[in-house]
Amino acid sequence: MVVGIQIIGIIFGIGMLFFSYVYFRRKDFGPRDFLFWVIIWLAFIYAVSFPKQLNILLDTLGIVSALWLFTIVAFLILFALVFYLHVIVRRNQMKLGFLVKKLALKKIK
C-alpha cells in the first residue's frame, strides 16, 4: 500500500522531472545534463515507490535503515556539489579577472 509520504515523494519526483524537461527545452541543459537528472529523479521515484527494494542495498552496505542511507547519500552529494561549485566559482573568477585586466590595459595600446 502506498502511504501519504510516498505520494508526496512521487509528486515531488515527477515535478522535478518536469522541471528538468523544461530546462532541457529552454536549452539551459544539454542532452547529457538532462539524461543525468532524468536518471536521478527516476531513481528517486523508484526508491520512494518501492522502499523495500532498498533493503538489498542496505544489507550489502551494512546500513541499518533507509533513513541513514538517504542521510549519507545526501551528505556525499552535498560535499561533491560544494567542491564542484568551488571549482566553477574559481574558474569564473579567473576568467573575469582576465577580462577586467585586458579591458583596463586596452587604454594604453
Binding site: L96, V100, K101, I108
Partner: protein, 217 residues
C-alpha cells in the same frame, strides 16, 4: 633609473589626490588603477599620468597586476607600490629607492608597531608575521605592507595568482622561493580610516592561503 609608481585604489576619493601629489615628486610616472570604485576616485585621480579602470572591483592583487603590466609596457626599471589611503608617506619613497640602488631586488616598507596602529591590525600583523616565520623560515616584520619598491626585471618571479589582500604575502613567498635579495626599512604609517583595508576575515583567508602555499611548496 626610470621609476613608476602604482597606486591601486578602491573608493579613495578622500586621499587619492594627496597620494598622487606626494608620489609624483619622486617618480617619473604614476599609474592609478581604479579598482571598480563607485565614488569620485577617478575624477580625483586626474593628476596621475595614467588612470586605468577595472569595470568591477576585483581586489588589490589584480589591481596591482594591471598596474605593473602597464608599467612594464612603459619600460620602467623600478616599480613602487603604494596604498591610496595615505597610510604611507610618499616622502619615504627616496629611502626605498636608495636601497634598490644599493642592489636589493625588492625593498619592503615595514610599518612600525606603535600606539597609533589599531589593535586589530596590530594583532593581525603579529599573527601573520609569526605564522609566516614559522612556515617559511623567513623573518619579515611586516608581511602585509603594501609599500614596496622592486626591480621590474624580477616581476616574472614575483608574479602572483592572488586577487585580494593575500598578494603581499604571495610576493614574499615568491621572493623567498627564488632567493631574491630583499631589504626591510621601517616606515611611519598613518591610519586614516580603521574600517578600510584588510579585515580579520581577510587575515584568516591570508593565513589559509599561507598553509596552502606551504603544502604546494
Amino acid at each position: 633609473m626610470k621609476t613608476i609608481a602604482i597606486i591601486p585604489a578602491y573608493n579613495e576619493e578622500k586621499n587619492i589626490e594627496r597620494v598622487i601629489e606626494g608620489t609624483k615628486k619622486y617618480v617619473n610616472y604614476t599609474i592609478v588603477v581604479n579598482d571598480g570604485s563607485i565614488d569620485k576616485t577617478v575624477e580625483k585621480a586626474r593628476k596621475a599620468d595614467l588612470v586605468l579602470t577595472h569595470l568591477v572591483n576585483m581586489g588589490k592583487g589584480l589591481a596591482l597586476k594591471t598596474g605593473i603590466e602597464a608599467a612594464i609596457q612603459k619600460k620602467t626599471d623600478v616599480i613602487i607600490t603604494i596604498d591610496a589611503d595615505m597610510q604611507h608617506d610618499p616622502d619615504d619613497i627616496p629611502r626605498l629607492l636608495k636601497e634598490i640602488k644599493r642592489g636589493s631586488d625588492i625593498v619592503i616598507g615595514s610599518r612600525t608597531i606603535d600606539k597609533e596602529m589599531p589593535f586589530v591590525l596590530k594583532f593581525g600583523n603579529w599573527f601573520l608575521h609569526n605564522s609566516f616565520k614559522k612556515l617559511f623560515k623567513v623573518n619579515i616584520k611586516d608581511t602585509q605592507s603594501g609599500f614596496r619598491a622592486f626591480k621590474s626585471s624580477i616581476y616574472p618571479q614575483l608574479k602572483w595568482a592572488s586577487e585580494g589582500y593575500a598578494v603581499e604575502t604571495e610576493m614574499l613567498i615568491n621572493l623567498n622561493k627564488y632567493n631574491l635579495e630583499y631589504k626591510e626599512i621601517p616606515i611611519k604609517a598613518v591610519y586614516t580610516d580603521k574600517y578600510k583595508g584588510t579585515t580579520p576575515v581577510d587575515g584568516i583567508k591570508i593565513f589559509l592561503s599561507m598553509l596552502l602555499w606551504k603544502l604546494k611548496n
